[in-house]
């Protein structure tokens, strides 16, 4: 079977970013999740926080205009926005643990239907990379996951239960994969939106956990079709 087109990473992240509400404090994980900040919506203002204590950073700095002292959690040189404030690392995690982060978007190896997810350790390799992920996962108001629907070998990542060591149990609210948008149901993943051209059956085939079809299932709404197809302001998880 020829490879069918899946959603690209930007679209996957756009779809999550569409859920962000005006005034939210947002923490984006290193890698794919940072693409969420490319999604623009003039009707809202977000405050990007990073673990190193930067509250209110803006876009990646243009080449030649970097301030060497200002980086986001990925170590990228960013621009400060007016109103930015800096705190030290313990105060930065006060903010995280204190429940001030409205949403954190992370990548993952696996997500389970009970909301567990795993993104820090592969047991076949020694050690792990946690960074601030466990603090964010345990304490942010909402955990969104952006990840490919399957591994490179085509194995499912949406599981009945995680095989890998979890980052936090039962915290995931929303998962955006290259095949669709999923919520955590009581007994499986609720498929809210599917990638164009992909049927529920095709998606189920690549998913270990049971897929529950949302009665209002539709194609994944993207930057292009948001206004025309679905209207604005439809948010699943607030």
């Amino acid at each position: 079977m020829a490879e069918k087109e899946k959603l690209n990473r930007q679209t996957m992240c756009d779809r999550l970013a569409m859920e962000f509400q005006d005034g939210w404090i947002v923490n984006l994980g290193v890698g794919m999740p940072t693409l969420c900040s490319n999604y623009k919506d003039e009707s809202r203002e977000l405050i990007y926080h990073s673990e190193n204590g930067v509250i209110g950073y803006g876009p990646i700095a243009e080449e030649g205009h970097e301030d060497k002292h200002l980086v986001n959690a990925g170590g990228q040189n960013v621009v400060g926005i007016p109103g930015m404030a800096i705190v030290h690392h313990a105060d930065s995690f006060m903010l995280i643990r204190g429940g001030m982060i409205d949403v954190t978007v992370m990548g993952a190896y696996e997500v389970a239907q009970n909301g567990d997810f795993a993104n820090w350790r592969i047991p076949t390799r020694k050690g792990g990379g946690i960074g601030g992920a466990m603090d964010l996962a345990a304490c942010a108001k909402r955990v969104y996951i952006a990840m490919e629907h399957t591994t490179r070998d085509g194995k499912p990542r949406l599981l009945k239960q995680c095989a890998l060591p979890v980052t936090a149990p039962g915290v995931v609210k929303l998962v955006s994969t290259d095949l669709g948008l999923f919520e955590i149901g009581t007994d499986g993943f609720i498929l809210k939106e599917h990638a164009p051209g992909w049927s529920v059956e095709e998606i189920q085939e690549l998913t270990e956990a049971k897929i529950i079809v949302d009665p209002n299932i539709c194609e994944v709404r993207t930057r292009g079709n948001t206004d025309s197809n679905q209207g604005t302001g439809r948010h699943f998880v607030v």
């Binding site: 190193n52 170590g75 030290h88 313990a90 995690f93 995280i96 643990r97 592969i122 990379g129």
Partner: protein, 232 residues
């Protein structure tokens, strides 16, 4: 007030003890005390335990990985004991995989809070972070207000190697933007705090008392990074 300015980095780390515990701040390559780490590397102390967000970055920049590569470190306490991508093989990763050094993996926020607890004379604290994960195994659990927590203990150190932006001669410190990161809490948590200063060391009284990020009472030695020093 006491003038704590040292003439150079070698003098400032001359008595760095074997088998001591040191803290090394920095995040995303900002606020890393590279000049002091370089001096400790030259000084040659061995059997060290390092407390740091990571165990050294890829590339040639001097960081805590420099001491690891030179076999000066026997244990790292950090938030990354594996690279985020398998291709990123640092000296630490290689040695850790070969069991040539020990490591304790700590969630970043728990690490920051444990450092702060050491500075704050707190004997231990309960955090929800890591509950339900492998890292909480064997730790004391306690339900508080319906939420499960694990008990964590302070991280003390003999030395903190600090990178500040500006200081006065007494050791009052200012940091700039993301250069702050772990620096203030580490500066307050260690027995001996040694600081490299990027921009300038001014006279006592020149810094606005409302705008000092770390009081000089926590600082023992200060060195201005010379023009041929390591700035990034």
């Amino acid at each position: 007030m006491k003038n704590k300015v040292f003439p150079n980095f070698d003098e400032a780390v001359k008595d760095f003890q074997d088998n001591s515990v040191f803290m090394s701040p920095g995040f995303g390559n900002v606020g890393v005390p590279r000049n002091l780490l370089s001096a400790v590397n030259k000084q040659g102390a061995k059997g060290l335990t390092g407390i740091s967000n990571n165990a050294g970055a890829l590339g040639d920049s001097i960081d805590v990985g420099t001491l690891i590569q030179a076999n000066q470190v026997k244990k790292m306490i950090c938030a990354f004991t594996a690279p985020t991508h398998p291709s990123q093989v640092t000296p630490f990763v290689e040695m850790y995989n070969n069991d040539e050094l020990d490591a304790e993996l700590v969630p970043q926020g728990t690490m920051a809070e444990r450092i702060r607890a050491a500075a704050a004379g707190i004997g231990g604290f309960y955090t929800p972070t890591s509950v339900g994960t492998e890292l909480a195994e064997g730790k004391e659990h306690r339900e508080i207000n319906g939420r499960m927590h694990v008990l964590e203990f302070p991280l003390h150190a003999d030395y903190a190697l600090i990178r500040a932006y500006r200081a006065d001669t007494f050791g009052n410190l200012q940091f700039r933007l993301a250069g702050r990161n772990f620096n203030p809490i580490m500066a307050m948590a260690a027995k001996t705090t040694i600081v490299e200063v990027e921009k300038e060391i001014v006279e006592v009284g020149e810094l606005d008392p409302d705008q000092i990020h770390v009081s000089g009472v926590y600082v023992d030695r200060i060195v201005l990074i010379p023009e041929d020093g390591i700035f990034y």
